[in-house]
């Protein structure tokens, strides 16, 4: 996460105001990165700023957020922070929201909150391989919901296991998310064509193939984008929608490449 400081009115600004402003900017950037909604971030920051005796303005841009903090003497300071590249993390969202309440209720000072903040970012995630099994079961259940048979569910589970493994391994190598999505969709879809390749293995090959890549659909960004749209955060809404659409396009490219490789017609789906 890189940060950039904006200039204020040219007067000397206290180190406390500067430090608090930088903290709020980093806090907002982490909240945005872990998929919190704009309305929640706004409320959390307002709550902490009020407790510290500040007025705060938060500007959320597609890749940055800018916090302008004004103290009781009318001195203001702005700080811009690049939105952190974090995976969706509701546990982190919960911890950071709780931090804002502890500051608002006077259980923590802003200085103590700043000291605790880096520790909160280091919370544990679920083990990747346990998530892999849960996602495979989830996608197989999806296949059943869409009318797939038991053999179709097995194909989808295997396709998901392989596709999601690629996602885990490539993400660990810090490969670009578009490449990760395309490769994962391609491998999952190639396995998902098993119903066509091995004739008669399942009576619903089209359902198995169509659902094999659904674990990659960026559901949370789509819901967040509409949420932001309905709460007047249009810019963030469109940037989240654009990113979700790019991921969906990458899934489609991977799926279409698998269709071409396995010589399957679009009309089969």
């Amino acid at each position: 996460m890189t940060t950039m400081t904006a200039m204020n009115d040219g007067c000397a600004v206290s180190a406390e105001l500067r430090g608090d402003c930088m903290f709020f900017a980093k806090y907002a950037s982490c909240m945005l990165g872990c998929a919190a909604t704009c309305s929640r971030i706004q409320k959390n920051i307002n709550r902490m700023a009020s407790a510290g005796g500040y007025d705060v303005e938060l500007t959320i841009l597609p890749a940055h957020c800018i916090v302008t903090l004004t103290d009781a003497d009318g001195m203001s300071y702005s700080h811009s922070s690049t939105i952190a590249h974090l995976p969706n993390d509701y546990a982190l969202n919960t911890r950071l929201s709780n931090l804002s309440w502890r500051v608002a209720e006077g259980k923590l000072t802003l200085a103590e909150a700043k000291a605790e903040f880096p520790k909160l970012l280091e919370g544990q995630r679920y083990n990747d391989w346990i998530v892999l099994l849960l996602v495979a079961a989830a996608n197989a259940a999806f296949c059943r919901i869409f009318g797939g048979d038991w053999r179709g569910m097995c194909i989808v589970a295997v396709a998901t296991l392989i596709g999601y493994t690629f996602k885990i391994l490539l993400t660990r190598q810090r490969v670009n998310y578009m490449v990760v999505t395309t490769v994962s969709a391609f491998t999952a879809a190639v396995v998902g064509t098993a119903g066509y390749v091995f004739d008669g293995i399942t009576s619903t090959p089209e359902v198995a193939l169509a659902t094999s890549v659904l674990f990659l659909i960026p559901g949370i960004p789509y819901i967040n984008s509409v949420n932001d749209l309905l709460t007047d955060h249009y810019l963030c809404a469109f940037s989240r929608f654009a990113k979700a659409t790019i991921i969906t396009a990458c899934i489609t490219v991977g799926l279409t490449a698998a269709f071409l490789l396995m010589k399957i017609s679009f009309s089969d789906l």
């Binding site: 546990a91 709780n98 849960l134 279409t256």
Partner: protein, 160 residues
């Protein structure tokens, strides 16, 4: 009896999907089981409305999401997490993913169309899937937000 079994079977599958897809978003451990439970009730609501009531997927998704939002508020109070922690992962089984990528796939295939008829066919698939996807997502977001904003005080203070 068969219908009741089908409804519960739909709920069970949605719960598995809710837990599995929810785990990707790393909800607190205490919250994960509630994601599954809420997903089941939301999806069963939509299933009943579509299959028993003959209602279109858009209003049915709105109603399902409304149920998800209401239950998320109750669970949020119990586990002290933001309601989005339960509601958004629980909505994932209702996301019309197939509509989403069929929209883009048909859009790409329109490029390769050899004549006007084929081009119009792909454009039709693109538009029809895109419209359904767009309105289902809007309906889901509106449905889940109504309870969250009706009970705004609870929604934004549960993490105290």
């Amino acid at each position: 009896m068969t219908t009741v079994l089908e409804i519960f079977s739909d709920g069970l599958l949605a719960a598995v999907a809710g837990i599995g897809f929810g785990a990707i978003s790393n909800p607190p451990r205490m919250a994960l089981k509630y994601c599954g439970l809420i997903a089941a009730f939301g999806h069963m609501t939509r299933y009943c409305m579509i299959n028993l009531g003959g209602i279109h997927i858009v209003p049915a998704s709105l109603a399902g999401a409304f149920v998800v939002g209401l239950l998320a508020i109750i669970c949020a109070k119990r586990v002290k997490c933001p309601p989005e922690t339960f509601a958004f992962p629980a909505l994932l089984p209702m996301i019309p993913g197939i509509y989403a990528y069929k929209t883009i796939q048909a859009f790409l295939l329109a490029l390769t169309a050899s004549g006007e008829e084929e081009f119009n066919h792909f454009l039709y698939i693109c538009q029809s899937n895109g419209i359904v996807f767009f309105f289902v997502i809007i309906g889901m977001a509106v449905g889940v937000l109504i309870p969250i904003y009706i009970f705004k005080k609870i929604s934004f203070s549960v993490t105290k």
